[in-house]
Symmetry: C2
Subunit: 476 residues, 2 copies
């Protein structure tokens, strides 16, 4: 029975892309619609996003940021104020040209990101050093006109938060950029159990309009990298384009220094591709909509269902507990909840009730444990914690296995072939080399890691002397 | 000092519309941008919305609904599937015609509401009676191309939740329509302290595509009504247009019966216009971002600030407490926090510390009470509760004062002139009379209240025999 069900999803080692699509649909995370490149986030997927969002929102507020809401539309002239920014985004925006039956005098773009709206507002409300810093954040939808799309990873519309801050000095803005990258790393590592690599994007890969971009990169099961969140130091470029000035303590006019940082529904894709297996999703307990699913065994026998519901009521105080009392067969239920990645299954039948015990089955290892009823309220949270830690450790080990060193292009290509993943290689800093590497291998520079090592003395591409270690990978 | 500050907002009895605009901007709820008809919801306004949203979201989940997320864009052909619906919405939608530099083959409308997207999805996922009911909700932004806009009340884009449900029978859908109207009434009355009138919209005023629409109507300080939330019984019209069918327990194919219901940022406008006064906003304690603002008196004196911060730490366990330790003068602070409608001000100075007491000043009544420190943790929540109740009672009394009866059009017009508000009058049920009343007075039918009375025997307009009591008013 289990076998039949498992057949329904493609084996991840045979076709990872199809495995992914199978999982997001069969685990009821998303559905497609007639809107090209967009997705419907179904209750299970949305509840997962709500849990992730709550964890991040809490940290954003703890670090003194305030939530606001900006308009969805941006007049074309406003978008054009910062040159690099418009150049970067123009090819991928959706344009509103008509309202009702009237043609608009000026086209409106559907926000791909909201820098320019925040800038316009900041110009209005910032006058003195007393008004600084301004630490704003927005939870919203944004639209980018992508040609090729995949659920969560790249969609025409996605959900995210975008932070936008103004500071009196460049140093303060730099500190903020770092701080928010750390907040992202915290959520990814400690909530989503995804180990991340922290570093700086190259000039080529940085955000359009930024001074520099920090990134947290993670590695998927198939050896491809995924940019999981970014934090940009905007310098005073936008401030100059928009005239955002304040009078400092000496009364002199100064431009503000800005940052922006974003975290999107994309991380759900990362979570799937880091933890999932051939039975489906595996959701880390800290964000799992249901942490424990109770499956009554021989539920038609007297007392079993009552007991199961009683257990649910008791355990709901310490965990998010579901119960599957449907008339499906237990084996079918097991498979369904495994597909959905529920961290723990609790089985309880007539014999267990007699023996005052239950069976706990871990999704990550398949391990089965008989737990005496009296110990359940202690053991269950411990086991959830163990699963959380194990998922992180497993992902970290996989990343290590898939991280290699290359000192020349032959090694680089060989590694990509034999053991796709992160390639650590020195880089001279020249954009030509970056382009060549991409051209020859389709790997891109993921980041210049904060923790630098010297794996050789020469650029992996041109062979010139090189000081910078870069992580390279094919990426989503 | 207080006077100077108060001058800044228009007197509400002189020009209510300007008073409103003054309040929403001076209390830092919103700001304007270069996006016509849209608003920026500033931190104070957004935090208010978050509190309201949390209260409603909790109730939506408590009644077994699940949150989902649908695409922002709707292909034109999909919008056109239900005839009444497209007729109602076409004049007020924004159209996306270009993606990047390409013209689209089919225009996309920016969702004004999401019935058609839900219907398309429901068709995919509903097959059997076992799949019913489906109780979905979405929190999102929507766009309606309005000509004349006012912050919160009518904006090009607004935030809302939209519930969309499918049921096996018409009765169940009817029950759902009623249940969600009661949820809205609960949030409005018990959270926002806004008394509501519950009833049914006339055919003319019902939602485009609905079988009937239920509404909760409230009355503003200036005697104008505001539709505060609506709940629609959609019947099986959409189901037939979209082919949403299920096989019932006998194996026969049946169409589902649907509902939809919405609640928007508009209620913030209602809250302002029901409770506000000439000193600014008054926010009901249950949704106030800050419930108590501590203002230290003579804060330069030793121990005052320490004591104030200590108080804040202690009281934060039982209420949302702020502290204003800025270098502004106390009078200025008083005015600012009154403008922002913070329910309670707590003053504490050297003498109070000596006497082991603080001063509590109510925003709603201006009443000043000396409270011994030992009683503070009991008194403070009581006082917040008193304010909540008093705001509701005050609003209810005002509504009663402004609710009159008319038996003919002369009385109708006279009442509107002398005491604008709700007019209770009988109606024959004829759309012509409804149109005439609107034409002659600009008052519209607000609803056919669930609690019917017979205030006369004849239609207020045509004089024919009439059975239905209708509430009429000029409305926002």
């Amino acid at each position: 029975m289990a076998k039949d069900f498992v057949k329904e999803i493609t084996n991840m080692d045979e076709d990872f892309a199809r495995w992914y699509t199978d999982v997001v649909t069969k685990a009821d995370l998303i559905d497609y619609s007639s809107v090209r490149g967009s997705m419907i986030i179904r209750p299970y997927g949305y509840s997962l996003w709500e849990n992730i969002k709550n964890e991040l929102d809490f940290r954003i507020k703890e670090t003194s940021h305030e939530n606001v809401y900006m308009p969805l539309f941006i007049p074309e002239s406003l978008l054009q104020k910062e040159k690099d920014h418009i150049e970067g985004f123009a090819p991928e925006v959706a344009w509103v040209t008509h309202g009702g039956s009237e043609e608009l005098v000026e086209r409106l773009c559907v926000r791909p990101t909201s820098e320019v709206l925040f800038c316009e507002h900041y110009k209005n409300i910032i006058h003195s050093y007393r008004d600084l810093p301004k630490l704003y954040n927005q939870w919203s939808n944004v639209v980018r006109w992508e040609k090729t799309t995949r659920p969560f990873l790249r969609t025409l519309e996605f959900l995210w938060q975008e932070g936008h801050t103004c500071h009196a000095t460049d140093e303060e803005a730099h500190e903020e950029t770092t701080k928010m990258l750390e907040v992202y790393a915290d959520v990814l590592e400690n909530v989503l159990a995804i180990p991340v690599l922290k570093g700086q994007k190259t000039e080529k890969e940085k955000f359009a309009g930024a001074k520099f971009t920090y990134t947290v990169e993670s590695l998927m099961h198939d050896g491809k990298a995924l940019q999981s969140a970014t934090s940009h130091h905007l310098g005073d470029g936008f401030a100059k384009a928009f005239g955002i000035q304040f009078s400092d303590q000496t009364g002199e006019l100064q431009y503000v220094h800005q940052t922006s940082w974003g975290f999107t529904t994309r991380v759900i894709g990362a979570m799937i591709m880091v933890h999932g297996d051939n039975r489906g999703l595996i959701i880390p307990p800290r964000v799992a909509p249901t942490q424990v699913m109770i499956v009554p065994i021989a539920q038609h026998k007297e007392g079993v269902l009552d007991f199961a519901y009683h257990l649910k009521a008791t355990l709901s105080k310490i965990a998010r507990v579901g119960i599957d009392a449907s008339d499906k067969k237990p084996g079918w239920k097991f498979n369904e909840h495994e597909m959905k990645g529920i961290p723990l299954r609790l089985e309880v039948g007539p014999k267990d009730i007699e023996n005052k015990q239950v069976v706990l089955v871990r999704r990550d290892t398949g391990e089965k444990t008989f737990v005496p009823m009296a110990e359940l309220e202690t053991k269950l949270p411990q086991m959830l914690e163990d699963i959380q830690q194990n998922l992180y450790e497993r992902a970290r080990e996989l990343r290590e296995q898939k991280t290699t060193v290359a000192t020349n292009m032959d090694e680089f290509k060989g590694n990509l072939e034999s053991n796709p993943g992160f390639i650590k290689a020195m880089w001279c800093g020249d954009k030509d080399c970056e382009d060549q590497i991409k051209g020859q291998t389709s790997a891109t520079s993921r980041c210049i890691p904060f923790e630098q090592e010297k794996v050789s003395s020469n650029c992996v591409c041109c062979g010139k002397e090189a000081e910078k270690l870069v992580y390279w990978a094919k990426a989503y």
